[in-house]
Symmetry: C2
DNA sequence: TGTAATGTTTACCAATCGGTCAAATATCCG
DNA sequence: CGGATATTTGACCGATTGGTAAACATTACA
């Protein structure tokens, strides 16, 4: 008889790692498009190329699949913000943060949509992560930005809304890709788009944050 | 016997209008949270406070409900962009466009999420609207912005990405409300948030778009 | 090689899905 | 009032849902 999955205390066989990888890859495909409620195990099974009970041998429930996926993706997703360096030059830090986020939107659009779907639907499965690790990280970086503003290195601004606006503008290209393509025309959706977006956003944020000469009042 | 719904050529009774209104209101509640696939007629029926067959008396299919909802919301949703005036002052036009979009995110978050869900999931039901009316409208306004840049009234920038960034930053407060609240702390989610966001975004876009003194090169 | 543990599949389950139907009820109007 | 029309509902249908049971196949390893 098969050992109940709950009893497995540690990774064992090579085949387990491979199959779980295969499943999560398929789950990312499906969840990122339809969200949790709209996705079915059968869809994931079909994409993964294995039978439904076989999926459920590795992940006991649909929720378990979703959770494993979220956990795995969340860490890497916050990497760019974590790399945000208090000691660096403000302008180049912001610039490279934007570029990194934009690269992730280009290279990992499914991951972006996975989170977007989840948050959009009220974040029923990741509320704790948002209020915990995410908030802590943002709080920390907000302090950095505030210090920069206080030191006169960048214009005074609300650091939280600055971070929100960088998130939203960059992730927009992953989450709303269909709309972006529809508006720009499908021919113009290749490599050029990325560079245009990067150029625009860097200009917007860098110029928008540059310290303004105090108007002589 | 009841007249088949398809045969109804024109609005008739008061009760029809009321019930359809009631249904679409409930459908907005449900679709905006779970997306099309993730929503069920039973959920909508429960929210609407009527039986499932009764819903299906007014809208023959789930798709018909969704479509009616989209059609109704799309027009008003594009209103702010339509109001963008080529004859106006660029700075104040951008400013009031941002504010209007932000007001809509605050006052009609369900409508924003309805579209976000739909686009996120590949826009299977509104592809034509995106490539047609939406693209046309954006093209038109992009020309206006380009003309402003050419006339030296604002900094040179890609008008499409400018519009995208205004969309994304403003709608972010509706679509990712849970995340915003989690990061800011739930206490700080009331009226103050709106004003802070408005102030930040206006500063960002206005300063970012201001014509820069050409660096002496 | 044998055998125990691991991995896979077929058949199936109850619950829920979108949707239908006919009968029951409410409304309108002469 | 009464009959025609419009509205509402309970019972039901086949398909799909998440998930299970157990037989079967494969692998690891002594």
């Amino acid at each position: 008889m098969a050992i109940p999955r709950a009893a497995r205390t540690q990774r064992r066989t090579r085949i387990q790692e491979e199959k779980e990888e295969q499943i999560l890859e398929a789950a990312l495909d499906v969840f990122s498009v339809s969200g949790f409620r709209g996705s079915t195990i059968d869809q994931i099974a079909e994409v993964a190329g294995m039978s439904k009970p076989n999926l459920l041998y590795y992940f006991r429930t649909k929720e378990a699949m979703h959770r494993a996926l979220i956990d795995r993706v969340l860490f890497t997703w916050l990497e760019p913000l974590r790399a945000f360096d208090a000691e660096g030059n403000p302008e180049s830090e912001v610039r490279s943060y934007i570029r990194r986020k934009l690269e992730m939107a280009r290279d990992f659009p499914r991951e972006s949509r996975l989170f977007a779907n989840e948050v959009l639907q009220g974040a029923p499965h990741i509320e704790d992560e948002l209020k915990g690790p995410l908030k802590d990280l943002v709080d920390e970086k907000a302090d950095v930005i505030r210090a920069w503003a206080k030191a006169g290195k960048i214009a005074k601004c609300d650091p939280y809304h600055l971070i929100f606006s960088i998130w939203s503008t960059t992730q927009h290209y992953a989450d709303f890709d269909v709309q972006v393509r529809a508006v720009l025309g499908q021919d113009y959706s290749g490599a050029g788009r990325f560079e245009d977006a990067a150029r625009f956003l860097e200009q917007l944020f860098i110029d928008g944050l540059r310290v303004k000469p105090t108007p002589s009042s």
